[in-house]
Symmetry: C2
DNA sequence: CCGTATCCAATAAGATACTG
DNA sequence: CAGTATCTTATTGGATACGG
């Protein structure tokens, strides 16, 4: 039997690799397996628990999530860590190196959103919609608009800090925000991309600023 | 049986899709399957024949290549086309939309080349090394260096046009080149990344320019 | 030579039940 | 909650045979 590009790694684990020095091939060896990039997307703004990942990755099964996390950890992209007491729960977090690839996966997403087949009515995770804002913002429309915009999705909240036509995102409490929105990720998408009324997101704070913020995200024109 | 995210597309073909509105998930539905991005890499600089693709994708089998090309065509990323006579052969080429994703693919490769596991001694295709130059160039080192640099890999040749710290690549005859190199893709990598002697590539033309060109590609520093 | 189609073996992914 | 274990299904790869 010829092994070809099947590399034996241990008695029980084998792995298909591309025998190719091209960096892209290696990228796919690292994060090209099913679910891997979506896991990194979910880890882009901080550590997450197993169950949270499972909830926000529609359709992943526990064994596959376990396996992906173990592989990503072995490859130096994910690290297990324990939150300080009183939480003391274990979370998975992306390493610095893995965080460098998240802007690229965001741009992959922007590219694909132009597909005629893209269905924006499917469910959306909170990490997805935050990353979407970072990548879809039109710096021209944003102009010199700036501020701190809070988003509350149930238990989880994020702050998007806008300045110079760019958005920095962090997960965490809504402190010092000029505007606070709340709703589901899908509702946020409906307002910023679908023209749904601003009230959907129950804005609090500077409502005029809120209205200007939600208008800086153009819908991508479909490709072919 | 529950179908979950397995979508029936026809009697014989089923397809796993991510039920996720995130653009990234859709990107992976489009080009996330094994070999798909590598095929787009090979098509980045012009149409290729089936056998050429097969040769430059080490380990792909004919049936998988056939299937990927058919899927990519159906999704609007690849088109079959016939070269004008007297060649009259059929080639597969990337659509304009697909060509927009190739720079992202290149940057994914650049990111992954920083992996400690990356093995640069594996085989390399001519498209890979050309894309690698586009993405690995250091604009600082390049300064205001400019020129047309030809690369001959056996039957196939490319021109890399350098100006303003950027490289435009096209496949085709070596006309109007300031320098012409020839060798294998691996030899080119050895010279520009591994510090192998310039002579390896049998440079012709402006040899001083040749020496300056091969010095503008820094080796990526390893992450972790 | 340029692909396609078919068959088979090996992996990877998914569903579900179950344990600490 | 955080995973394992087990079983089933789907995809991939390799060989080979076939049609233009």
């Amino acid at each position: 039997m010829q092994l070809g590009n099947v590399t034996k790694r241990s008695k029980t684990e084998t792995k298909r690799t591309y025998d190719d020095a091209c960096g892209l091939a290696h990228a796919l060896d690292l994060v090209g397996e099913r679910w891997a990039m979506l896991i990194l997307r979910e880890l882009a703004y901080g550590g997450r628990r197993f169950s949270g990942l499972r909830k926000d990755l529609p359709g992943i099964s526990a064994n596959v999530l376990t396996q992906r996390l173990a592989e990503l950890e072995e490859r130096g992209l994910v690290r297990k860590s324990r939150l300080p007491p009183p939480a003391s729960v274990q979370v998975y977090e992306a390493t610095d190196w893995a965080l460098e690839v998240t802007p690229l996966i965001g741009r992959l997403g922007k590219w694909a959103a132009r597909s005629p087949r893209h269905d924006p009515t499917l469910p959306l995770s909170h990490a997805s919609i935050m990353m979407s804002m970072q990548v879809m913002i039109d710096p021209e429309r944003a102009g010199d608009l700036s501020g701190r915009f809070g988003f509350r999705f149930g238990e989880v909240s994020y702050v998007a800090e806008l300045s110079d036509g760019e958005i920095a995102v962090e997960r965490g409490p809504l402190i010092n925000c000029d505007v606070r929105f709340s709703g589901t990720p899908e509702e946020v998408a409906g307002v910023i991309y679908g023209g749904a009324p601003l009230d959907t997101l129950h804005p609090e704070g500077d409502l005029e600023l809120a209205g200007r913020y939600v208008a800086i995200f153009p819908l991508p024109e479909k490709a072919a």
